[in-house]
Structure formats: structure tokens, C-alpha cells
């Protein structure tokens, strides 16, 4: 079958599903990359859709850009609180044992006023101005990683480049002991894993995160009262607002910073390579004019939507897009879908590295929980792309990428590529 025929077959099949039986939280749809067709139909026919039965329980899907902004900015009606169900449909997989440890209270899953207090403390630390000092080190280390890659041989871009670069930037941000940097990646992966999916048991899960806590306690003790450096731990330890933070709170915030910047950055690096390969005219524009990288980074983040969605729990009856969401209902804001809404984004189905308003996308969320690390993410991606373009005339995808089996983390586990030198 040609691609056009496959698309038509898929469209016909999706169009036959009764609207009250659409379950867009099935992780297989993301892994086999057919999810876009489902969202296309919902945006057109039932933009705020109720799914009464799914393995993740009943939930509303909010699929259009403006409806998503409406829910995301109404934290008085829509809660993020972990105690009510948190921010991920079906749960993060974090067990009750986690609360016993007490270390995983993160403000992304809190409501005001506690959310506000903690966000205020962390936010200045990842402000663009603070990050400038880290730029030269990130650049130097990215260059070294890229220089060590073989030219003309098949390699796995995800493992050898995306993970490596993300780990490197995390280690740099925390001034983490360099030789042990893969520990950071491991801990970050552990937080979002569950038995059979990354760890063998909850005991192992807890044991690894306790190790993480001890390790950071040690770094914290070394840096508290030490000379003021620019890494995130020193800044937390050195700022009057945070120096006396209870250790568990410090740990929760730290883990949130690590997890927040791990899969998201990794999958943006991979997603960018795939998008450029699927759109050769855009790749040509980039190579002709690397000045487009700043805008391209935002476009990659829109296109990839590394976090497909965030969930809220209604605190009261609320109307969204003409539908009545009832108190206690779960509402999922599908950023991945809103980012393809052609009523708000011009030519939304096209990847265009020089579009006019590249920053107007939903991938970072909006409202009081909007990603606090957004400029940090953009900075990392900009440096990495500047260094890639300097070295390689093309990063060529030479085999079928393997996508993640997840309805939340939108990414890749494998992407075979060949590098071409200039």
C-alpha cells in the first residue's frame, strides 16, 4: 500500500469508532504513531470528549488549543494535587510507599498556596540570567560528545547522543561528579518506573531513590556554606529562601528538576532529527541559515510535544467547550492535539522551522504550573543544535525509529542514524 492509502485506511477505521468509545489514552496508539488521526477526529467532531471506560478509568479529553488554555489557567476549578489524583492520567506509577519515604512531594502536583511557595523558591534558580554562566561549559561538553561519534557508521541516536547529551547537561547544571553522571539518568528514570517497567519491585524502587537522597544530602552538605558557585545545588544551598529548607522538601524539588529536564530534553533532541529528516526542505533551510536555530528549537518542542498531556481533577462543576465537567471528574489536556489545532496555529500540520510565532505552543503548559524550566530547555537545545550543524552536513535517519510505549511521555527508545561530515 502507498502511504496515502495507509492514511486513508487508518482514517476510515478511526472514523468508524463511536465517539463515546474513543480511548486516546491507549499507549499503543502513541507507540505505533496513529494517535494523530484520533485527535484530528476529536478536534473536528467532539473537541471535549468523554471516555466513560478505559484501563485508566473514566476521563475527559480536551483537544483544542483554546480549551486547553482555559483549563490550564483555571487552577481554582481544576486541581493538580497528588492527593486527588495528580497530573498524570492513570498515575505516575508512584506507589504509596513513596509517601512513606516522604521525599517525592513535588510542587508540580500541588495546588496553591503550597505550590506557590515552592515554585517561588525554585524559579529564580532556572531564570535565563542565571543560566548564562553555564552556557560555555554545556557547549564545550556537547562539542566533545559530538566529536567522539563515528562518521558514516550506523549508530543509535537515542542512546549514544540524546541520552548522552541530556545526561551531560543535567550533570553540568548540578555540578554533579562527572564520572558518575549516568546515576542521574538512572534516578530520573527510576522515579517514573514501576515493577516490570524499569525496576523489579517497589523495594528496589525505594532503595534506589534512597541512594539518590543520600547522595544529594552529601553534595548539599558539602556546598551549604561553601563558596558561591553557579550550579543549581549551590544556588539552592546558598539562597536565604532555601538554605533552611527541610531536606525532604529540597530533595522533592531537586528530583522534580531532574525528572522535568530528562525525558523531555532527550526526546526533543531525537524528535528534532526525525522531523528534519521527514522534511528535507526544512533541513536544507537550516543548513543554509543556522540563524534559524532559535525559532527551530521552539518549533521542535511544539512538533514533538514531549509531554503529551497533563491531567486535572475538577474541584467544582465547570463548563469547557460547551460540555459540563462535573466535580471530581478527570480532565486531560492533550497538548499534543492542541499543538495541531489549525484554528490557532497556522499550517499546524506542517513542521516549519521559520514560522512566525514559534513560541505560541502548548508543550510547556500555561498558567501557574507552566514549565519553569522552559528557557533552560530552549538554551540546551539551541547549543546542541548549533554544535550539530557545525559538525555534520546531515544526521540521516537510516531505519525505522522505535517509539515509547506511553500515553504521557512522547518519545523514542531507538533511532538508527548515520552521520555525514561536512
Amino acid at each position: 500500500m502507498t502511504v496515502a492509502q495507509t492514511n486513508k485506511t487508518l482514517r476510515d477505521a478511526v472514523n468508524k469508532i463511536p465517539l463515546d468509545q474513543m480511548d486516546v489514552s491507549d499507549p499503543l496508539l502513541f507507540q505505533n504513531d496513529t494517535i494523530g488521526e484520533y485527535f484530528r477526529r476529536l478536534r473536528a467532531e467532539d473537541p471535549v470528549n468523554y471516555c466513560a471506560k478505559s484501563p485508566n478509568g473514566p476521563y475527559w479529553s480536551v483537544t483544542k488549543f483554546n480549551d486547553i488554555v482555559r483549563v490550564d489557567t483555571d487552577h481554582k476549578s481544576f486541581s493538580s494535587d497528588a492527593a486527588r489524583g495528580g497530573i498524570v492520567l492513570g498515575g505516575l506509577g508512584v506507589p504509596t510507599e513513596a509517601s512513606a519515604m516522604g521525599g517525592l512531594e513535588m510542587f508540580i502536583a500541588m495546588d496553591p498556596p503550597k505550590h506557590d511557595e515552592q515554585r517561588k523558591v525554585v524559579s529564580p534558580i532556572v531564570a535565563p540570567h542565571n543560566l548564562e554562566t553555564l552556557e560555555p561549559i554545556i557547549r564545550e561538553r556537547a562539542a566533545a560528545i559530538l566529536d567522539s561519534l563515528p562518521i558514516g557508521e550506523e549508530i543509535d541516536w537515542v542512546d549514544q547522543v540524546s541520552i548522552e547529551l541530556t545526561t551531560m547537561t543535567l550533570a553540568t547544571l548540578f555540578d554533579f561528579p562527572w564520572e558518575e553522571r549516568r546515576k542521574l539518568t538512572r534516578w530520573s528514570d527510576v522515579v517514573t518506573s514501576s515493577p516490570g517497567n524499569g525496576v523489579d519491585s517497589w523495594e528496589q524502587w525505594q532503595q534506589e531513590l534512597t541512594e539518590c537522597a543520600m547522595y544529594f544530602k552529601n553534595l548539599w552538605d558539602q556546598r551549604v556554606g561553601g563558596e558561591q558557585k553557579h550550579d543549581l545545588i549551590s544556588m539552592l544551598a546558598g539562597s536565604p529562601a532555601t538554605a533552611n529548607m527541610p531536606f525532604q522538601e529540597f530533595l522533592g524539588n531537586l528530583i522534580l528538576l531532574i525528572v522535568g529536564g530528562n525525558d523531555t530534553t532527550r526526546n526533543s533532541i531525537s524528535g528534532g532529527v526525525l522531523a528534519l529528516n521527514e522534511n528535507p526542505a526544512e533541513y536544507a533551510k537550516l543548513m543554509k541559515n543556522p540563524g534559524l536555530i532559535t525559532g527551530m528549537v521552539s518549533e521542535i518542542i511544539r512538533w514533538q510535544s514531549p509531554i503529551t498531556s497533563m491531567m486535572r481533577t475538577a474541584l467544582c462543576d465547570a463548563e469547557v467547550g460547551g460540555k459540563k465537567i462535573r466535580e471530581g471528574d478527570k480532565a486531560v489536556m492533550w497538548y499534543l492535539s492542541g499543538n495541531r489545532d489549525s484554528e490557532v496555529i497556522e499550517r499546524a500540520d506542517e513542521f516549519l522551522i521559520d514560522r512566525k510565532n514559534p513560541r505560541q505552543h502548548l508543550s510547556f503548559g500555561f498558567g501557574i504550573h507552566r514549565c519553569v524550566g522552559n528557557r533552560l530547555a530552549e538554551l540546551q537545545l539551541r547549543i546542541i543544535w548549533e554544535e550539530i550543524v557545525k559538525r555534520f552536513s546531515k544526521v540521516e535517519v537510516v531505519g525505522k525509529p522505535v517509539r515509547s510505549l506511553s500515553h504521557v511521555i512522547h518519545g523514542f527508545t531507538k533511532m538508527p542514524v548515520k552521520l555525514h561530515a561536512h
Binding site: V69, P112, D116, S123, A127, Q360, F364, R375
Partner: protein, 108 residues
């Protein structure tokens, strides 16, 4: 048409004419004023259009109302001050002709 002056953190000044009825975020973005990103398109959802209203003008623009979305977002802005506003929430009128807005060092 009323005029607005944006002053960057480094002191650079930009005079811009703004249609009455338009807002100070759109005017800044349309004229490429550095430091005002306005990611959400001007719907009070991102806080990347943070400005400091020159004290002489604060009486005319007013402050962000406590408890409203604008103030809730501003509390997270780096170096949030008493005269902080979101530019998208300042509607241009003839009464604001000559308005002076200071752009912060960075936004996110």
C-alpha cells in the same frame, strides 16, 4: 496614535506607536522589542510579557489586582516588584500616550 517607550535592562530605548485598543504586549512583539516574548499570545497565561511600569505612570495604568490571574502569574516572575505588570493586560488608550515601560533582565 499613542506612543509607548520601552526601556531595556541595558538602557536601550525604543519608541513605538500603538493603536488605541491594542495592548502593550502585541505592540512590543510586533516591533521586536528584545526581552518581551509574550509566549501565550497575550491571554494572561504565561508571564513572559512582564514589564515594570515607570512609577510616574503607575497611577494611570493601575497595579495588577491581587487574587486575579495577572497577579498570580507575576508572583513567580524573577524580580517581581510593586510596579510589575503583564504588558498584555495593559490596554492602550489615548490617556496612556507617552507611557514608559521598563523591560526586565529576563523572563521565563
Amino acid at each position: 496614535m499613542p506612543k509607548v517607550t520601552y526601556i531595556e535592562a541595558n538602557g536601550a530605548k525604543h519608541d513605538v506607536t500603538v493603536d488605541s485598543g491594542s495592548n502593550c504586549r502585541d505592540a512590543a512583539v510586533d516591533n521586536d522589542i528584545p526581552g518581551i516574548d509574550g509566549d501565550c499570545g497575550g491571554v494572561c497565561a504565561c508571564a513572559t510579557c512582564h514589564v515594570y511600569v515607570d512609577p510616574a505612570w503607575l497611577g494611570k495604568t493601575g497595579k495588577a489586582a491581587p487574587g486575579e490571574m495577572e497577579a498570580e502569574l507575576l508572583q513567580f516572575a524573577p524580580d517581581f516588584r510593586d510596579n510589575s505588570r503583564l504588558a498584555c493586560q495593559i490596554k492602550m488608550t489615548d490617556a496612556l500616550d507617552g507611557l514608559v515601560l521598563h523591560v526586565p533582565e529576563g523572563q521565563h
